[in-house]
Amino acid sequence: MPDTVFFALEVMLNGLMAGVMYALVALGFVLIYKASGIFNYAQGVMALFAALTLVGLLDGQVPFSHLINAIFGTDVHHFPSGLRDLFAAGEGASGFTAMLGRILGILIPVLLTAAVMVVLAWAVQKLVFRHLVGQAPIILFMATIGLAYFLEGFGDLMWGSDIKALDVGLPKGINETLERVTNEAFGYGFFIDNLDIVAAIVAAILVVTLTLYSQYSRQGRALRAVADDHQAALSVGISLNYIWVLVWSIAGIVALVAGIMWGSKSGVQFSLSLIALKALPVLMLGGFTSIPGAIVGGLIIGMGEKLFEFFIGPLVGGATENWFAYVLALVFLVFRPQGLFGERIIERV
């Protein structure tokens, strides 16, 4: 086969991988929309906030240091040691101890960040959405816009606006094994980024875990009951507040995963919140209420936009990816408003 065909295949493969990254963000939207009917505009900012918190803990940054220094005239920025260094084994430690230290130095901050996201979920429910029960969806949506701006400013105040490198030990760069194997087989070495492979594995684990959780756990069944009919769920003793805190917590943890993946790719900076823009066409295509739909939608958008850029982009000046993603989503909205896997919208008179 000519190199152009292989290149097209390589572009397609990388498009699928990019789609997985979009799907990671879209998953958080789906979880909250499915359980509460709220389109959470703040999902991208939640990913940013989670990534900022994780870097802060890893590097031992003092939260609100700008504020503290401004009020008390101090000059504090970092603790003597970040959690990463705190668990790092000293010189002369055995290989196992060193490895354990490295794992704990990352795992503990990740778990603490997850805990912060749970606290955030509780606060959001307690301070905002509990007071908005029964309001029209547009009011709830507007509340999430307010939440997004609040959280962005809060993250800035807490951790600062400077760009931060995020290294949690994920492999990056070309997968040399795949390149070698494909080169030997086809005479064309395929490029796949190791980080994208990790993202695909993590996304697969997330989807399986979330599906199993919602199908077979007690809370998962309660969550589905609330999603189906709030009032019926309330009548059988399911606490709406508890379920909403639960689902916002899970969405927060999914945001953390997305924040880690995207933050490892581009550094943690405030533009990270814009990844939500990439999730919107995925949601329109896959459906707002389907977890597998988010993945399939992500794959279609990722692959489609890359192939379109490859085949059509050069004819129209390039940079077509965002345009294509939204146009494809628009076409789906026209012919299948609920998306590929969304629940069919039926209004009975």
């Binding site: 990019a18 990254m21 606006s161 290294d167 581009s266 550094g267 900076q269 890359k306 940079a319």
Partner: protein, 426 residues
């Protein structure tokens, strides 16, 4: 009620600059997706004026007020900031945004205020015959492209014939600026130019870098901003593109762009029209009068970095233009029109830069009625990941005026024709 109104009036009086002060609004962006770049620039800009106020009592005895207005790098907000502050006696604007600059050019021209856009904005505003109120010295986007090509020529034995050079650019008015210049240079030096646009903000660039991997260009030039830069450098690392063949314009060459890639960014090159680092004598005074006095604009982490240095450079040039305007006018409380005259008569010499504590930091500028673009010179710097420093790897290089000047003349002539502007300086 009267007491309340009196209190309110007092508060408002405190919120606006005193009438005798010279006002230089700082249209900054400390929030939003581009905050990481906006903050150090705004800090450098503010700290330099604070130094002048604290050490010298201002310029010519007039304190300089630098009220900040947040634009979030948003053009509409930038215009709002201009409208909100121009009535305070503002003499010059430096919005750090090409989009805002394009919107402000007709406004400042009508209002008689100066727009100073060092290294950004509308390139052809270097032509003072058409753009009376806009100054973009010491260098513009087209100079930058030309100087990068000149550095490549030096490395390739003065010939780029048959070479392939890729331009990866932000798909915006800013990113497209160098295309015409590079096309002209490609024709002159017989190299092939590959243009690769990236959708804003540029967080996902896989297809662009797969194209670069396939096409194997000899060099890559980047015109990016914000997250696009960091992602591009990481993608270049991922496809194992040689970093010393990858050049960024000055807006694609700050610590923010290389730090996320870690050690792998070692060797990346960028072009700058000023020096970097905190080794200049001016930092001794900044430390004494600004940082240690608790009057710094930021948290102390930025002094010496590329964007802080650039903000400080802009403030230094503005302050020298104000000083010149006072000299011409014969009084200290200069008007916006007099400050414009000061910009047009600016003569910033090497000796003066040394007096300011910035020896060798930048090249001299001698503005004239028709030359608002300055010397068009810059240096190439290379990132050393181990020491986390930019090291100069070239002397000051000048742009290819044979190519640039006709482009500036043609673009400014088109602007003059569109806006019925009669050329000055004849």
């Amino acid at each position: 009620m009267r007491k309340t109104l009196t209190a309110l009036a007092l508060v408002m009086a405190g919120a606006v600059p005193a009438l005798a002060d010279i006002v230089v609004p700082n249209l900054s962006y400390r929030t939003g997706p581009f905050a990481a770049n906006g903050i150090p620039y705004a800090d450098g800009f503010a700290d330099y004026f604070t130094l002048l106020n604290e050490r010298d009592g201002g310029i010519g005895g007039e304190k300089i007020q630098v009220p900040e207005c947040e634009t979030a790098y948003n053009t509409e907000k930038g215009v709002e900031c201009y409208e909100a502050t121009k009535g305070t006696g503002a003499v010059v604007y430096n919005p750090l945004s090409t989009g805002i600059t394009y919107q402000l050019i007709p406004k400042v021209t009508a209002d008689g205020i100066t727009l100073y856009t060092p290294g950004y904005g509308r390139t052809s505003s270097a032509n003072g015959k058409v753009f009376a109120n806009v100054f973009n010295y010491p260098a513009n986007y087209w100079d930058g492209a030309s100087i990068i090509i000149k550095n490549m020529l030096e490395q390739e034995g003065d010939s780029l014939e048959g070479k392939k050079i890729a331009l990866i650019y932000h798909n915006s008015a800013y990113g497209k600026e160098p295309i015409a210049t590079l096309q002209a240079l490609a024709a002159k030096h017989s190299f092939e130019l590959v243009e690769i646009p990236v959708d804003s903000p540029g967080q996902e660039q896989k297809s662009q870098w797969l194209q670069i991997r396939r096409d194997k260009p000899d060099y890559v030039i980047m015109y990016g901003w914000g997250v696009m830069n960091a992602v591009a450098i990481q993608e270049a690392v991922a496809i194992q593109y040689p970093m010393d063949h990858f050049y960024g314009i000055w807006w694609s060459g700050s610590e923010n762009d290389v730090v996320p890639a870690g050690d792998a960014a070692n060797g990346y090159k960028m072009i700058s029209f000023h020096g970097t680092g905190a080794d200049y004598p001016v930092y001794t005074d900044l430390k004494k009068y600004v940082y240690d006095a608790g009057k710094a604009a930021g948290d102390g982490s930025n002094p010496g970095n590329v964007l802080y240095s650039r903000g400080m450079y802009a403030a230094m040039v503005i302050s020298e233009a104000i000083r010149k305007s006072q000299e011409i006018a014969g009084h200290a409380a200069v008007t916006p029109a007099e400050v414009r005259d000061g910009f047009e008569a600016l003569d910033l010499t090497e000796a003066r830069l040394a007096e300011l504590g910035l020896p060798g930091f930048a090249q001299p500028i001698k503005a004239t009625c028709d030359d608002h673009g300055g010397p068009g010179t810059a240096m190439i710097f290379q990132w050393d990941a181990a020491t986390k420093k930019w090291n100069a790897v070239s002397d000051w290089l000048g742009a290819d005026t044979e190519v640039i000047d006709p482009l500036v003349a043609a673009d400014s002539a088109a602007f003059a024709a569109e806006n019925a502007i009669t050329e000055r300086c004849n």
